[in-house]
Symmetry: C2
Subunit: 351 residues, 2 copies
């Protein structure tokens, strides 16, 4: 047997797991953990419009911290929205409740009007939120910064509004390949700068949400979405925090994702982590992937579903527990408490 | 080399391809080919509400035949809706435009109130439409009948309305396993009778749309959706028409689907048919799977995308060309003509 590397006690378990280092337990957090299922969140939102909340560090920090106060979570994730940096690029958008763009981006002139993001100038409130949260978080709780993938953000910019299938955006990338490439390049460069600024402000992991890349076919994903992600990763060289790539509904392209230089791949609930491991290899940490619906089952069924995910994750420690998608607003917070505590209890390493 | 079986000239190419027999070309049809992208369809719809259209054989037959008159398609598919048999079971529903259920089905009492479907009594207009279309179709054009999978239909019955994620239905199957099983058993039995009646009325292939089963995680798919599909297949033993199972967004459970006793598996556009072939084996015919967005590309790019699908389908003849999802209303009908003719030209077998 090889000697096992020692746990670095100063690293939060989530960061250690992301780097393949030993941890006292499998770290756990929940996508959209700061959200409408929490009464304390609804209370803040009752007085504040969503966009204003993302631009007010005091309130954004408060809702970021709410779930960490209530549950034994191993991470907080910045409360913000993937469209916030786009506002910083000069795009006029509103949340209704999904992002609605006054003038969708559809021509080369539209792309050229987008300002390259200078985070401290254009979105100072995000960086201030990161600093405030980091200052208040216990040392063992990691702070995760994030951004949307270029294709995902472009889907909203082109469509002008949320959409089930993003037909407008998907038709656009077929009919306007040159504009698409210019748009994705711009978004990739600004997103890299945005993520680096979050790390410099105190984020200890960075997550890139590929929410809609899975709507592309395999060839289009390879030709359109993937190069823009690679561009971000290349520009982040030297930023010493782990990258988490959330590959939503991307099971058919996991073999392509396996080649990305990221430490963690987040998986949705549709497949098993054992399937993902087969394709992604043993050198990446997997994040996920309990079905958000499982939180509606009776406690013993929920615990069995959690155990299934833990079994599929394997025993090499390269696992960060999460849901496979954002938590639903109708979820009972007590089920979340049960989940977090069960994951910790089941995975506590013997001394 | 083995001797190749001879083409049966009396079989429509689609039926031959479904059975693994030689065909003069790769057969092609388009999901939602009778639909809003056709001006002649919009003209009929302008005067008739959707539900009334499904219940009026003269009009339903007319819109079923419209795309066959315009394009060299190898199949017509019955114009109807997956919720039509549910109306026959006594459920009060409207289309607005998706199905809206006045009283969602959520208790054992609700399930017990569902009438077992007797097709000639409860949905005679569907069978009359099948007979009318079959009488008018050229012999080489196959008529496809269809139904929704039990889980898919149940998703609407439980939710009461269309939904992006069907959170209500997915939470329901977790919290109410006994009611779920009773509902799916009822739907499976009635669906089998419904499909058999369509075959007896003249449908030459039967398609089961698993539109929402892919929203279940792998374990839930295996425990909930799959047994109800197996139940239908078992009840259809002796019905001598090929079965097509449309496995929408089911790439993580294709290995389970490989075990189904169906002749054809329909695939969505997310993965490649080559990937599907690896899992499904050589003894099933694959149907699909061009991205509906590809129809918005310039002609030479569209043709390249079609060629990619044909290459991925392989050369063993077990392929029915289709889109990977329903055609979008914004599609140019001329692109469809180009697609159909290109598939035929590229795959014409030498005598």
């Amino acid at each position: 047997m090889n000697a096992q590397p020692k746990a670095k006690l100063d690293l939060p378990p989530l960061v250690a797991a992301a780097r393949g280092l030993p941890t006292p337990h499998t770290p756990v957090w929940i996508m959209r953990q700061a959200g409408r299922y929490l009464p304390e969140y609804r209370k803040v939102r009752a007085g504040t419009e969503f966009g204003a909340l993302t631009r007010t560090p005091e309130l954004a920090a408060e809702v970021t911290l709410q779930p960490v106060r209530r549950f034994n979570l191993d991470a907080a994730i910045l409360f913000s929205d993937i469209m916030v940096p786009v506002e910083g690029m000069g795009v006029d958008l509103a949340y209704a409740p999904g992002p609605v763009i006054a003038s969708p981006v559809r021509t080369m002139a539209d792309v050229n009007k987008l300002r390259p993001l200078v985070p401290e100038r254009d979105v100072p409130y995000v960086l201030e939120t990161v600093r405030r949260v980091r200052a208040e978080l216990p040392a063992h709780v990691a702070l995760i910064g994030f951004a949307g993938s270029p294709f995902t953000v472009a889907s909203y910019l082109v469509s002008g509004k949320p959409s089930k299938e993003f037909a407008t955006a998907r038709a656009f990338v077929q009919s306007e390949p040159a504009v698409t490439k210019a748009l994705l390049d711009h978004l990739a460069d600004s997103t890299a700068d945005y993520l680096r600024a979050q790390a410099e402000a105190g984020a200890q992991a960075l997550m890139l949400f590929e929410s809609w890349g899975g709507l592309l076919g395999r060839n289009s994903f390879a030709q359109i979405a993937l190069p823009s992600v690679q561009r971000i990763i290349a520009k982040l060289k030297g930023v010493d925090v782990p990258l988490i790539y959330f590959a939503n509904n991307c099971w058919t392209v996991l073999d392509l994702i396996a080649g990305l230089d990221v430490q963690v791949v987040g998986l949705d609930w549709r497949g098993s982590l054992a399937q993902a491991r087969t394709v992604l290899g043993k050198d990446k940490t997997l994040q996920g992937n309990l079905d958000p619906a499982a939180l509606f089952a009776p406690p013993e069924i929920l615990e069995r579903s959690i155990d299934d995910v833990l079994a599929d994750a394997g025993s090499n420690g390269r696992h960060i527990f999460n849901l496979g998608h954002g938590i639903w607003p109708e979820t009972d917070p007590d089920a979340v408490a049960r989940l977090v505590d069960h994951v910790h209890a089941r995975t506590a390493r013997k001394a």
